[in-house]
Amino acid sequence: METAITNQALATNTEGYLLDYTQWTPDWGIEVARMYVIELTDKHWEILEWLRQKQAEGVALSIRKVGNSGITDIKQFYRLFPGGPLKISSKIAGIPKPVSCI
């Protein structure tokens, strides 16, 4: 499936997560954030960059890991990405939907 939310269409899964995180652009992030009515601040960007870096390192992500990153705490993370902070921030950052392993 392809989703066109900026002027380019990128391959996503049915839930709107990018299939290839290397195709991501900041514009893509801004537009996805807009769908969640989130205006991206510096703090948001810092978190998004951290998420992308971890993805590149092959690290499995969890809310607790973000809370332990030194960039933000869990409470602020919830405020910045209300609803499901890790699911939403991952979608904005262009990385796969976090999986729960159990």
Partner: protein, 421 residues
């Protein structure tokens, strides 16, 4: 001089490894040593049944040494630090041990102190865990005279040992109060950080259905931040509140403090050890292997998982000793019974790639069991697990279940045909 293989932790995984390696390694060349803090082995799966009086406390306790082979040295001590660069362990007694190969099997423990308000005034008064012997025994006393009210079962984290145990507790509680004729006085809520009763779609669908049938409300996406002892509410990070009269908590689960002290824990601060999910070798040191609840691999933290891992790890340690590639690969296989109350249970069987599916699970001699379906036979299987645990699993005997998950009997959604692989 003999070489040293040391196992830290004589719980489920460590005991199995001691037995298997003792049979497979050349004991003329290798000295196997296993270390634990004390000589009491608990059958943790039995903790689930204690609160309801189904098991008595004495049913779940034995010594560690009765399951360890004579040739293996058992040390009662605590490892305070692993010094991976030096291949050394520092013990609480002050001793320092050298190892050639190390196996970390230190499990996971509850850490209620991680959540503000959880282990304060109401702890073991109106807030209980059943993941420890003490918690399960105290909860049994509490439930005996409890007059009813709001019963809340809450998971503080997703990475917990035996992820199905909280569901089982909930179903057994429903049955317990029904049998006592007071179910109408108890409002049961299951409050979870997951988006449903379980993680994988088909199992979640089945379990959500059971919840509905039993009139248990599932409160999803609730990530516990704190407990207000005065108001008697649990509070989430996004400031949702759920009131309780009796709170059954599954607190954050963590690996041992020694992992943190040794600087070998994962980034989330939960003290689980970064481990290769296929070979079970530690990611940091080649001669260190990790097994059971204390790995960070994306598999369930369960005794059955530790059993399958033990088969793989035994092979890989032999390969390691012979300078051969670590060819045996763990597939994430888990096999769990889920008690659903009133003498029935369901069974799930899955791995890294395949979610729990419906169908039949073949068991030689005993006959096929139903997957993802509550039956009496599965309940008998669940209770038989205690016997299997003490008499076969711990001593590393072969169980009638394949190490790698098999698709035999499982039904895939698409074709509704029994797979023959």
């Amino acid at each position: 001089m003999k070489k040293n293989l040391i196992i830290i932790g004589a719980g489920t995984a460590g005991t199995m490894m001691a037995n298997k390696l003792n049979r497979r390694l050349d004991t003329g060349q290798w000295q196997i040593t296993i270390i634990d803090r004390d000589n009491t082995h608990y059958y943790q799966p039995g903790f689930l049944f204690i609160p309801f009086g189904i098991y008595q406390p004495k049913d779940v306790v034995k010594t560690r040494t009765e399951f360890l082979p004579e040739d293996v040295t058992f040390l009662t001590d605590e490892v305070e630090q692993i010094e991976g660069e030096l291949n050394q362990l520092r013990l609480k007694s002050g001793d320092v041990l050298d190892y050639d190969i190390l196996i970390i099997a230190t499990g996971a423990e509850i850490a209620p102190q991680e959540t503000p308000g959880l282990k304060e005034e109401l702890w073991y008064k109106d807030i209980f865990d059943f993941y420890t012997y003490e918690g399960a025994v105290k909860l049994a006393q509490k439930l005996k005279d409890w007059k009813g009210g709001r019963l809340v079962i809450n998971l503080a984290e997703t990475q917990i040992k035996c992820p199905v145990a909280p569901l089982e507790f909930t179903f057994l509680a429903d049955a317990y109060f029904t049998d006592k004729g007071m179910r109408h006085l108890v409002d049961i809520k299951y409050v979870t950080p997951l988006s449903g009763a379980f993680t994988k779609p088909k199992a979640t669908q089945m379990l959500n259905g059971l919840m509905e049938e039993k009139e248990i409300e599932v409160v999803p996406d609730f990530y516990l931040a704190s407990v207000d002892n005065e108001k008697k509410v649990i509070v989430s990070y996004d400031e949702k509140e759920v009131p309780f009269d009796l709170l059954i908590t599954i607190p954050v689960n963590k690996g041992d403090m020694m992992i943190e002290k040794s600087g070998i824990g994962d980034e989330d601060g939960l003290n689980f050890v970064p481990t290769d999910k296929f070979s079970l070798q530690s990611k940091k040191f080649k001669n260190v292997f990790v097994i059971g609840d204390t790995t960070n691999i994306p598999a369930s933290k369960a005794g059955s998982v530790a059993h399958f891992e033990a088969e793989i790890l035994t092979e890989n340690i032999q390969s390691f000793i012979n300078n051969k590639p670590l060819k045996a690969t763990f597939d994430g296989h888990a096999n769990c019974f889920i008690e659903t109350g009133h003498g029935k249970a369901a069974l799930i069987d899955f791995n890294y790639d395949t979610e729990p599916l419906p169908g039949k699970f073949p068991l030689p001699a005993i006959g096929p069991m139903d997957l993802l379906k509550a039956t009496r036979a599965n309940h008998v299987g669940k209770l038989a697990f205690k016997w299997v645990y003490w008499h076969m699993l711990l001593t590393g005997k072969k169980l009638p279940v394949t190490t790698h998950m098999s698709m035999t009997g499982k039904i895939k959604e698409e074709n509704k045909e029994t797979s023959l692989v």
